[in-house]
């Protein structure tokens, strides 16, 4: 018996010793703001889920750069948190943030619905939530997303999926065999892009989809999947792609093909476009995160008046004719990519109206924004009610599900009608 208690206390002692060691280690690793915490500054959190690729890195950097601008840094205590790809961990982290007194949480959600209950608790306690790129259904949260966005100079032409599909059809003159390079299976973003693209393709009997695969928004995987599809269909005429189009291009190049490709905003794609590759570059801008942070801080500072709950980022649009290299680190003179950057660097870090103060440095380092420009009239960037169902899964009050025939091209998509 005595030996058992001794063994027990030995174990406890060992665990306690190791625990203290862990704490010491952790204490060395703590970042800024760990010193007890300044009671006067409001707490702001940037919560990432995915990480390790250019898009996520740039988006996070832009948001941190906005929050780190002198006028914001003196008022807000901003912490960046990575939850990883486990939705339960994101729920747990959000609960911790709410409990610790966060005033603003800017986040990339892993699921449109799983976080609803946490958010409700947070909203009840006065926390402001702003989500970027991927959207959530919860009513009290703000969504800043490009998914249903329209072209800046042609606001009737909406939906990345539909617009790029139409562009591809036009480049093929309405006829040909195409591949579809989708994103991650089982996500709402991929589903919206795919559904709206299909609504266009199905109108053209001359367009035949010979292969559909999932590049998982990753350049290398897209390259491998395209290569596999090429083995079966070496005579393909065009490719519709989500993120990962750089890899699609590389697979096509390896096979000696130069066919129309529509994709998102990688540096490599835009470079090849400027060299004459037929295609269109549109898609998800990392700038969304910067805009989300601006919107969130604006709400903390000035209240929520004039800020719509559903903010649409305008769709970028760069074609073979308009692709142009930037000489410096800013989008000037209509230039739209940076020749010195990595192939998978996502070029859309600016937005003329919403995020003009961004820079290449800000996107790469998370610092370097000295002055934050005021937001424009946000009502101009509100998502039209007829597109609500794609990001909130329901229609607004007074609206019901139906087919949208006015104010939107392509005509006849599902949406909300009055």
């Amino acid at each position: 018996m005595a030996s058992k208690t001794k063994k027990l206390s030995r174990r406890v002692g060992a665990v306690a010793a190791l625990a203290s060691a862990t704490i010491l280690l952790a204490a060395c690793a703590t970042g800024p703001g760990a010193s007890g915490g300044d009671g006067q500054k409001d707490k702001v959190f940037l919560n990432l889920s995915y990480s390790g690729n250019n898009w996520q890195d740039e988006a996070a950097n832009l948001a941190m750069a906005i929050a780190g601008a002198p006028e914001n840094a003196e008022r807000y205590d901003v912490t960046k948190q990575i939850s990883g790809t486990d939705v339960q961990k994101q729920i747990s982290d959000l609960q911790s943030m709410i409990a610790s007194g966060a005033k603003l949480i800017v986040s990339y959600p892993l699921s449109p619905t799983a976080l609803d209950q946490v958010m409700q608790e947070g909203c009840d306690r006065g926390v402001t939530f702003v989500f970027y790129d991927s959207t959530v259904n919860a009513e009290c949260a703000y969504n800043v997303a490009f998914i249903t966005g329209a072209l800046a100079d042609e606001p009737e032409r909406a939906f990345f999926g539909a617009q790029t599909a139409q562009a591809l059809v036009d480049l093929l003159d309405g006829e040909g065999k195409i591949f579809l390079n989708r994103g991650v299976a089982g996500t709402s973003t991929d589903t919206v892009h795919f559904d709206t693209a299909m609504s266009v393709f199905s109108k053209y009997p001359g367009i035949e989809i010979v292969a559909e695969f999932y590049g998982n928004w990753d350049s290398s995987q897209s390259q491998q999947e395209t290569a596999k599809a090429l083995a079966a269909h070496p005579d393909v005429d065009g490719v519709w792609s989500q993120d990962g189009e750089a890899g699609v291009l590389k697979a096509l190049e390896a096979a000696g093909l130069e066919i129309p490709v529509t994709g998102e905003n990688s540096n490599y794609f835009r470079q090849r476009l400027s060299e004459g590759w037929p295609g269109v570059s549109s898609g998800s801008p990392p700038a969304q995160a910067g805009v989300a942070m601006k919107v969130g801080l604006h709400i903390l500072e000035h209240g929520a008046d004039g800020i719509p709950k559903n903010i649409e980022m305008p769709l970028p649009w760069v074609t073979t004719e308009t692709a142009k290299a930037c000489e410096g680190t800013e989008f000037v003179d209509g230039c739209n990519y940076f020749p010195g950057e990595a192939d998978t660097f996502v070029t859309e870090v600016f937005q003329a109206d919403l995020l003009p103060e961004a820079s290449l440095d800000a996107a790469k380092t998370g610092t370097g924004i000295s002055e934050v420009q005021d937001l424009p009239k946000m009502a101009d960037f509100a998502q039209p009610e007829w597109r609500r169902i794609y990001t909130r899964a329901t229609c607004d009050e007074g609206w019901a599900e139906g087919t949208v025939t006015d104010n939107q091209i392509p005509v006849g998509l599902p949406g909300c009608v009055q």
């Binding site: 063994k7 027990l8 174990r11 280690l25 339960q88 729920i91 007194g101 209950q117 089982g186």
Partner: protein, 340 residues
């Protein structure tokens, strides 16, 4: 080893269970010490609910590990259970109870299939359960192509019932642990441990080895299905990819619960505490304001530290016992031969 020796062993409090509990208590105490905002029943209740899916899942995973097997299908069954619950309850909100029973049945059937392929056909456990995980993910994708669905509140409230601030789910977990503790003392449980320790000896002793092994997988399947139901209650929605994180987290939790990967030793109750440690760890890191990318490293270091605990106590033990006595004592002989 005779059955009576095994039973006699089991009557003492297993050291690994104590270690697992202590690890959890230390972590949670640190959380309470560092983060004042966690010191309330509401936070604890949230913690328990979040813990349920993993805790119940590891009861299943550890049971299979004890027999010396391996079950990767946890991710598949759990995800499918989540998707089925979402799809069915959205369509038939009044049939919560029959749907629950149906899903438990699904878990049982999948577990039985695994067991039959592994035990009767002699295929390797890791391969079969990997294949069944892949198949079930496919089925989940067909049933629900994107995350969503709205699970009715009548269904989620069944699992999130609260009694005086305490989550009823905690009671369910305690019941499951007690059930497991009881099972481990029955002939079934004793056979489980024997299979893991020395399968040939168990066969020679006349134990119902094959039936028990299949039973272990079937039991695990039901546990995964229950875990999926709790996940549905926590997230109130379905996600075809919901199961994937559990592939690694369930085994990390089992490791923090000091369950042996070679079989023959361990306790599902300890694994539950291991799950608690794993779920609590991010909260501790948050409280310490650990820089964003360090969380993966801290998790890895914590696991390594936890693993080194038996090593430390083994080193301490060897210093105290003379070598001669060690050889004659059955427990020590196993320690000498223990290469885990």
């Amino acid at each position: 080893m005779t059955i009576s020796t095994i039973s006699a062993r089991r009557r003492r409090i297993p050291g690994d269970l104590v270690t697992a509990v202590v690890i959890f208590v230390v972590i949670y105490s640190l959380i309470l010490a560092i983060a004042p905002f966690e010191r309330n029943l509401y936070s604890f209740s949230n913690f328990v609910l979040l813990l349920m899916p993993l805790a119940v899942a590891v009861i299943g995973t550890s049971t299979v590990l004890i027999t010396g097997g391996f079950d990767l299908s946890v991710a598949g069954t759990l995800g499918l259970s989540n998707v089925l619950a979402t799809v069915l309850t959205s369509a038939y909100p009044d049939m919560g109870v029959p749907i629950t029973i149906g899903i438990l049945g699904m878990g049982l059937v999948v577990g039985l299939l695994n067991g039959v392929l592994i035990v009767l056909l002699g295929l390797q456990a890791i391969a079969v359960t990997l294949a069944s995980y892949i198949c079930m993910t496919g089925v989940a994708l067909i049933l629900l192509s994107a995350p969503g669905g709205s699970v009715p509140i009548e269904f989620t409230s069944m699992f999130k019932l609260s009694i005086g601030g305490f989550p009823a789910a905690l009671g369910a977990l305690i019941v499951l642990c007690l059930l497991w503790a009881y099972l481990s003392r029955t002939r079934f449980g004793v056979t489980l441990f024997s299979i893991g320790s020395d399968r040939q000896a168990a066969v020679i002793s006349g134990m119902p080895v094959r039936a028990t092994e299949v039973g272990a997988y079937a039991f695990a399947g039901v546990m995964y299905a229950i875990a999926g139901l709790f996940l549905t209650a926590v997230t109130a929605s379905g996600d075809p990819n919901a199961g994937f994180p559990f592939l690694l987290t369930s085994f990390a939790a089992v490791a923090l619960g000091m369950v042996s990967f070679r079989g023959g030793k361990g306790s599902a109750v300890a694994a539950v505490f291991g799950a608690g440690s794993l779920i609590a760890l991010p909260k501790l890191l948050f409280g310490l304001q650990i820089q964003d990318f360090w969380s993966g490293a801290i998790l890895g270091i914590t696991i390594l530290l936890a693993l080194s605990l038996p090593l430390l106590s083994r080193v301490a033990k060897r210093r105290r016992r003379p070598a001669v006595a060690a050889v004659t004592d059955t427990r020590s002989r196993k320690d000498l031969a223990d290469v885990e």
